[in-house]
């Protein structure tokens, strides 16, 4: 068996793939959030941002394929590790003790599943535009796709906004364990650094929540309107 094959078949190698792909996905949500926040600069800014993104052409597709690969690997290897973990621990204790383990850590699969379900809905709503097909026709004065109007009208639906808030909440839960955990898996922590990574991870996770939640909340408060 080659050394590389050995590495990807080992528990640590597989965990490395989960953490590296997790890091790539965090990179994506950072860029995505910064792009989204341009909505606060007005319709012109966010419509221009969206148009520029689509003008990237091949580059956009390379990024998209990379992102899909990262998501697929992240989920596939997590499921593989989960299956092994269940086999390794077939019988639970009669007296259940959580022993240090945080709520975030214990709910990683649930939070991951909610986020995955949300991503599919989010793509259907704003990328494929299946939820409100008429929004495909909306153009602004400059002849660009009116992303601003699409977002504001999308989030005007309380069910859509509510599901969005719930999902970014679950994303923050996922990252509250995930960020610190990936640094531990990459071997970048020490006894002194680990509590700091854990604290910083939670701050970053809930900063993502505030950033993402600010858009539907602003629509609800009529700070953003058509």
């Amino acid at each position: 068996m080659s050394s590389l094959h050995c590495f990807f078949n080992s528990s640590i190698g597989r965990k490395w793939i989960v953490s590296i792909t997790g890091l790539a996905l965090i990179g994506f949500i950072t860029v995505h959030l910064l792009g989204n926040l341009s909505i606060f600069l007005g319709p012109d800014a966010v419509n221009g941002y969206a148009a520029n993104l689509h003008h990237l052409g091949k580059l956009l597709w390379i990024a998209r394929l990379g992102l899909i690969a990262a998501a697929v690997l992240h989920i596939y290897f997590t499921m593989l590790l989960w299956r092994e973990n269940r086999q390794a621990h077939p019988q639970k204790y009669a007296v259940k003790q959580t022993l240090e383990t945080t709520l975030y850590a214990r709910t990683m699969r649930l939070s991951g599943l909610v986020v995955f379900g949300f991503v599919l809905f989010h793509l259907a709503q704003f990328t494929w535009e299946w939820v409100n097909p008429e929004s495909k026709e909306w153009m602004d004065a400059a002849g660009r796709h009116d992303v601003y109007r699409m977002l504001v009208s999308g989030f005007s639906n309380p069910w859509v906004a509510g599901f969005y808030l719930l999902s970014v909440g679950f994303l923050a839960l996922h990252l509250s364990h995930g960020i610190a955990s990936l640094f531990q898996t990459l071997g970048l922590t020490s006894e002194k650094l680990r509590p700091r990574f854990e604290c910083a991870g939670k701050i970053v996770a809930w900063t993502f929540f505030l950033g993402y939640a600010s858009i539907p909340v602003s629509v609800f408060l009529k700070l953003l309107s058509n």
Binding site: C6, I12, Q97, L186
Partner: protein
């Protein structure tokens, strides 16, 4: 003091186990948990019943032989091994549940006794150093920095009791393997086999069927030797560095 015990009884690995309700009466408050089990066993023997099988050796908290799970906590509540748990830390009349370690890699031999040879086999795969035979070298012959020596000694405190894998919801042995790899990687004597050690011990760990670390840190919470989960980060680092070098070679 009186206690209501729920103790796991299982004749061997192939049969189904069950909880037996046993009353422990007139137990002195300063008896250790194992002494309490001795008293219960003596009374069972007097009544011509089969005593509860459990492991113990040093009974002073340094060998890690006493592998049992008391009220869901491997090696019992508080720091230290199960033999360091005293009955005064329980309430009079309390129900105490005693189970064996639950991990596929630690099969049950009888009652509270599990087979922990998987840890021995992991150590045999790389938890050793090469040394000259003959007279012991001068203690000052090899210089080691204070900081490195302290960190290596902290990791070397691992007694291999198995509480880490027993406490882990995934039954991962990463704290144990991390302690062994960290201990030897920090010292000059551990350098010749450093790369092979990380690769071989992790391979042995995976082959034994232990789960994968999810960074829950339950292991760190129960470790009787106070091993920090930072040894797991060190193991991750050592393993990947070794794997990269073996790919490059």
């Amino acid at each position: 003091m009186n206690f209501h015990l729920r103790i796991w009884r299982q004749d061997h690995e192939k049969v189904k186990g069950f909880f037996e309700e046993i009353e422990a009466v007139n137990i002195p408050a300063d008896a250790s948990f194992l002494e309490m089990l001795d008293m219960v066993n003596n009374r069972l023997i007097e009544k011509q019943k089969v005593p509860v099988a459990f492991e113990s050796d040093c009974r002073e908290g340094i060998c890690g032989t006493c592998s049992m799970v008391i009220n869901g906590i491997p090696q019992g509540p508080g720091r230290g091994a199960a033999c360091q748990v005293y009955m005064r830390s329980f309430c009079d009349g309390e129900t105490i549940t005693v189970e064996p370690y639950r991990a596929a890699s630690f099969p049950i031999i009888k009652d509270l006794v599990t087979n922990r040879k998987a840890y021995d086999r992991i150590v045999q795969a790389g938890g050793f150093i090469s040394e000259h035979t003959g007279g012991a070298p001068d203690a000052s012959a090899t210089l080691i920095g204070k900081h490195e020596a302290d960190r290596a000694m902290d990791a070397a405190a691992c007694i291999g009791c198995g509480a880490c894998a027993a406490a882990c919801p995934n039954s991962s042995a990463m704290l144990f393997v991390g302690a062994k790899v960290t201990h030897l990687a920090l010292l000059p004597q551990g350098q010749p086999e450093r790369k092979e050690r990380a690769l071989n011990m992790v391979r042995a760990m995976d082959e034994e069927g232990f789960g994968n670390c999810s960074n829950y840190y339950a292991c760190e919470a129960v470790c009787p030797a106070n091993i920090s989960a930072s040894v797991i980060a060190t193991l991750n680092r050592e393993y990947v560095a070794a794997a990269c070098r073996s790919v490059a070679e």
